[in-house]
Amino acid sequence: MSEVKNGNKPQYVLEVKDLHTTFSTDKGGKVNAVNGVSFSLEPGKILGIVGESGSGKSVTAYSIMDILSENGGITGGQVLYKGEDITKWDEKKMATFRGKCCSIIFQDPMTSLNPVFTIGNQLMEAIMLHTDRNKAQAKARAIEMLELVGINEPEKRIKQYPYELSGGMRQRVMIAMALACEPDILIADEPTTALDVTIQAQILELMQDLQKKMGMAIIMVTHDLGVIASMCDEIIVMYGGRVCERGTADAIFYHPAHEYTKGLLRSIPSGSNMKERLIPIGGTPINMLDLPAGCAFCPRCDAAMKICLREQPPELWVGEDHLASCWCNVKSAKEGK
């Protein structure tokens, strides 16, 4: 996006180009979970990826980290970290990428911490693996990180096991662990979905604080439009493994240009539509085993045309810093001319 604006190309910390990720099923079928996703991330920016379950948002995040399950793999496209294609890196080199260059935090902090080790132990493991600190230095760093994420009495806490902490505390530990080696990118996969709303507010506030202090870029993967609205500079809306719309938070929320985004925004209670009936998106969520040839959203779209069934819509500029892939925009652009 900024390429056009600035003229000279800014240094992206991460570029994803035409990413395809495929899983094979037991019955010999193929599920194309991600179908040609592209985006670029500038240093220190917060990018939101929003979509419902099965839209491919988490798989995109896992593909970047190369932590897909056994039956899945990247089948096309590039993931460029500071200009280098990391999909070509071997396992050993990827191990240095994870944690040091890019870390991830998951939805459920209970299952992502090891229950049989103390949190200090787990934090120090990550630090010693990625930096050349010795044990004492790693311990000092672990305490420093716990303090940074707002855990009181960190000297006492590092001797505790995950079960002794509350959900919000565990997520703080996960963030401390992810940021201990000062990565350039933090991927947060539904980081607050399992938490209560007051704890969610604490964690979101903490992430924004740390982002300002440490300057890493954040990729925020979530289905919650509220979380996205309060956190992100740029937003990608995904449906059926494809990007349907991308732009700044204001562009997406105030001038949605894809029928799916429009429908999504109409269907949620937002404060201004409390007295009105919600306008739901019809139909059922997408079946990834049976994707339509054209636009993935067309079976549920009220504005669907013949061409939507047959062909993929092209990505069109619909405003400054705002792109959408919808045939309706192509049609209105033609009529406008």
Binding site: E52, S53, S166, G168, M169, D196, V197, T198, I199, Q200, A201, Q202, L204, E205, H223, D224, L225, G226, V227, I228, A229, S230, A249, D250, F253, Y254, G263, L264, L265, S267, I268, P269, S270, G271, S272, N273, M274, R277, L278, I279, P280, I281, G282, T284, P285, R300
Partner: protein
Amino acid sequence: MANSEYLLQVEHLKEYFPVRAGFSKTIQLKAVDDVSFAIRPGETLGLVGESGCGKTTVGRTLLQLYKPTGGRVVFDGQVVYDSGEQYDENGQLKVDANGKPILGKKVQADMMPLRKQMQMVFQDPYSSLNPRMTVEDIIGEPLDVHKLCKTKAERHDRVMELMELVGLNAEHAMRYPHEFSGGQRQRIGIARALAVNPKFIVCDEPVSALDVSIQAQVVNMFEDLQEKLGVAYLFIAHDLLVVHHISDRIAVMYLGKMMELADADELNDNPIHPYTQSLLSAVPVPDPRTARAAKRIVLEGDVPSPLHMPSGCPFRTRCRYATEQCAKAMPPFTDRGNGHFVACWNK
């Protein structure tokens, strides 16, 4: 006390669970402690609060799925449960010289006929439907239990009618639950609850497990059914925006206690209790400009364990306005005008 204005009246409801603490010691977990509210016919009362605050327990105790520890539940003029405890005008439990409560007559109504009036919709549409039963049998089961249909044909017709009512294709009656999506399963659960023509349904987080784009379909259906059938809901959820949209009035719970109860718009625009204020400010609003301008009141720390409840007001450990008085006693739940009830010493 019987007030015909209300369909359901709940007074001083208590639900304590015994928890083993060591070899021979048990302590009480006060999941619901002295909760009072009332629901009018055809009304939706939203019940919100964080996990572990006792909102689900309230719903289940109302339907006597758990045996209440104390209090009184009156449904449609009939006393469903009365522990016999007596209260004075200030809401204080009457006790004798030894500090034991003075007990009146205990009442436990036969629930079987009442189940025709009070039903429940569960949160998880995956575990609340029997996977070995067809949809027709799932929806038809309450009809069999209450012997509402004389012939097989009558039962079949009623099931078809119910399926159409909740927007399911009646041709799918012979299918099993696994053949349906989450939203459709939730519709099956609602059809089952509606089969006996209840006056009151407890909806326990009915949309939380659904995708964003499906939630609106189900919320709309709840609203349509209420308009058509005049059924009253106790709508339990943690998503405050959804609760605000569907509810006429909203009640806020914290650690087993009722903190605030008011008209939905009034509660949203003019929250009085400090907990409600911070809860509402913590809701991420799907509107970037509002979100940037909003000042969050971020609560410090976590919810205390319900096994080791703070004395007095349970919220005082995280409250900005807490004073000595808050530690001494639980504030009374008083009407601040227009049915806006608040339990707070300082506000």
